[in-house]
């Protein structure tokens, strides 16, 4: 049998099944090291603001821990709670021999050229783990930041929630305000053990010429819960991802929420897939997409492999001005006794709703932005209050220039 290195080498030119093909050679794989930052408040204001738009607080206020990677260097890692480990993936691989049972096990390295490149030429990534029974009250923040022009950032991230633990994570990906072009690719492997819970909220704040191809897979054991939220409100040239969650223990649950806004010249192809492969498992996928000049393909795929499984998929799209929203929901039932459903709708802002808000005193443009904000309602995500407020804040900070 071939090992991962051999498989990856063979896949270096393998095109992804979805999304525009990218020539990785157009981007720099080498860059100088950035120095470690002891105190995040020493970050310059521009970078801090960009990070804030991705949900990352340099003050660490209301955070249990922080991981910050700039370009290819891990420049800060801190954990403020006993039993909570936050470190670079390289340090973790050095520290734990057993990590090889997790690292590279969920996302095949030969999936496509992006996973192959990440495997052969990794530029760090994070390792976050909660020991059994440890519950984070405040979120952990992990930030992957690109500060150099035309850089390729290839990260491999692993998150493990041990039995009965609870992790709240905000991952913010952003570029420095002066960066025009770049490539962000990576492998994300998440493990939700028996009775554990991960709330994973990813906020992307890219720039107009950034290409993004993350590859993500999660497994959820018995009675485990995986909540994944994705928010992308800033321009991005091309972003394609299709994270998959596999429910392998009975009573496990997964939920994907996404709020996606496509500006002019932005192309987003985003899906979520849940495979229900244990009895009594449940899943929900909810997508809210807004095309304002850009293109969105919104995919969803539910696979019911065992009886007594229940899942629902909902895509709602809104087109403002011009743009494309292409919803591709798929449901696949493989046995008797499953309950899978989907609904999809693409529309415009109803005149009736605008006039209703005008009849309470708003102007046309105020009414329109109120309706669009409402459409991106984060309360649908069923998150803890603190996290809901954080996301609301991120949406508002992006929203002001978006409308």
């Amino acid at each position: 049998m071939k090992n991962n290195n051999e498989l990856a080498k063979e896949a270096l030119l393998k095109k992804a099944s979805l999304g525009e093909d990218i020539d990785i050679n157009d981007y720099n794989q080498i860059t100088e090291e950035n120095p470690y930052i002891e105190n995040l408040s020493s970050l310059n204001n521009q970078d801090r603001n960009r990070m804030r738009e991705a949900g990352i607080e340099a003050s660490e206020e209301g955070r249990t821990g922080t991981f910050l990677q700039m370009d290819h260097s891990v420049v800060h890692e801190s954990s403020h709670q006993e039993g909570l480990e936050i470190m670079s993936i390289a340090s973790a691989l050095e520290k734990y021999d057993w990590l090889t049972d997790y690292f590279g096990k969920l996302v095949p390295v030969d999936t496509d050229k992006y996973t192959a490149t990440t495997h052969l030429n990794p530029h760090q990534g994070y390792f976050i783990r909660a020991l059994p029974g440890v519950k984070t009250t405040f979120p952990i923040q992990a930030c992957l930041f690109i500060g150099k022009e035309r850089l390729s950032q290839n990260v491999h991230n692993v998150i493990i929630a041990e039995e009965g633990s609870e992790l709240n994570i905000i991952t913010g990906c952003a570029t420095a305000s002066h960066v025009k072009e770049g490539l962000h690719i990576g492998i994300n492997e998440f493990y939700v053990k028996k009775g554990a819970k991960i709330s994973f909220t990813m906020i992307h704040a890219w720039a107009e010429n950034i290409m993004v191809r993350p590859r993500t897979s999660t497994i959820i054991e018995e009675d485990g819960v995986f909540l994944s939220n994705y928010i992308c409100l800033k321009p991005v040239k091309s972003l394609q991802m299709y994270p998959t969650a596999k429910l392998i223990g009975k009573g496990a649950m997964a939920r994907y929420n996404s709020i996606i806004y496509a500006h002019a010249n932005s192309n987003l192809d985003v899906g979520s897939r849940v495979i229900l492969s244990a009895p009594n498992t449940k899943a929900e996928i909810i997508a809210r997409t807004i095309a304002n000049g850009g293109n969105i393909i919104t995919r969803g795929h539910l696979v019911g492999e065992m009886p007594n499984t229940k899942a629902h998929l909902e895509c709602r799209g809104l087109i403002i001005g011009n743009g494309l929203v292409h919803a591709i929901p798929e449901i696949e039932g493989k046995v008797e006794g499953i309950d899978l459903s989907h609904e999809a709708a693409v529309g415009k802002i109803a005149q009736e709703e605008i006039e209703y808000l005008m009849a309470r005193g708003l102007s046309v443009s105020e009414a329109t932005s109120t309706i669009v904000r409402g459409f991106m309602d984060v309360s649908i995500m069923g998150l803890p209050d603190t996290l809901t407020k954080e996301i609301d804040k991120a949406i508002k900070s992006c929203g002001e220039e978006m409308m």
Binding site: M358, G361, T370, D377
Partner: protein
């Protein structure tokens, strides 16, 4: 306060209001009776400036200014407020936000919602899965927050259960500042089909609207009596 002169209105090329003349003075509460489909709601929505109601002739004068071409929100700014019969759902926009918008952030949402038994609705999407009566109360709640000088109410009592009917009546009275008696300034135009609202509210004038025209005008209680006795058929060919 409001003066409507020979108002003709079309919807998609079909004339539905055919020369309406109507006046509401300061402090006056007027009732608009009429069969369903007679043009009552169209008249209210035209006064408010909703799209689709094309004025082909005539004038709407509010506070001595012709408002025919003003956008809805400017009419609101001048002091007109409406409670809709079937308000739309606006997903993700909460009842609380609507109160804040209507009051420009000045009202206490909890206090007002408490008055209308709508505390549990504050953080719900506006009108989503509201019953008919809940919608009516939510509309009145927003109007109270807005506190307009001219209150337009489209069948405030329809769909409201008996338990809440007295409450709705009381709120309508508050909106019209009935408790201030002679000192009050607010005026109202209230659509009713059944007339039940008159059991709770003193009104000054009544109009019957039929086939796009005002067919009768007078004391609202007497008009209601006539309608109850003889039906709308008679009122449409008013003998007054």
């Amino acid at each position: 306060m409001l003066y409507i002169k020979n108002l003709h209105v079309e919807i998609s090329g079909k004339e539905i209001l055919k020369g309406i003349n109507l006046e509401i003075k300061e402090r006056e509460t007027c009732i608009l009776f009429g069969i369903n489909g007679g043009g009552k709601t169209s008249l209210l929505l035209t006064i408010m400036g909703f799209s689709g109601y094309n004025i082909t002739k005539g004038e709407i004068i509010f506070k001595e200014k012709v408002i025919n071409d003003l956008p809805i929100n400017e009419r609101v700014g001048m002091g007109i407020g409406i409670s809709l019969q079937r308000p739309p759902v606006v997903r993700g926009v909460k009842t609380r936000q609507m109160i804040e918008i209507a009051s420009k952030g000045l009202a206490s949402c909890e206090e007002l919602a408490g008055q209308l038994n709508l505390l549990d609705f504050l953080d719900r999407d506006i009108n989503l899965n509201f019953s008919g009566g809940e919608m009516k109360r939510s509309e009145l709640l927003q109007l109270i927050a807005q506190s307009p000088d001219l209150v337009l109410l489209d069948e405030p009592e329809s769909g409201v259960d008996l338990e809440n009917m007295a409450l709705v009546g009381k709120i309508c009275n508050n909106l019209l500042e009935k408790h201030l008696h002679r000192k009050r300034k607010k005026s109202g135009l209230i659509i009713t089909h059944t007339g039940y609202i008159l059991d709770y509210l003193e009104a000054d004038k009544g109009y019957v609207l039929a086939n796009g025209r005002i067919s009768c005008m007078g004391n609202p209680r007497e008009i209601l009596e006539d309608i109850r006795k003889r039906g709308y058929e008679e009122c449409m060919v008013c003998k007054r």
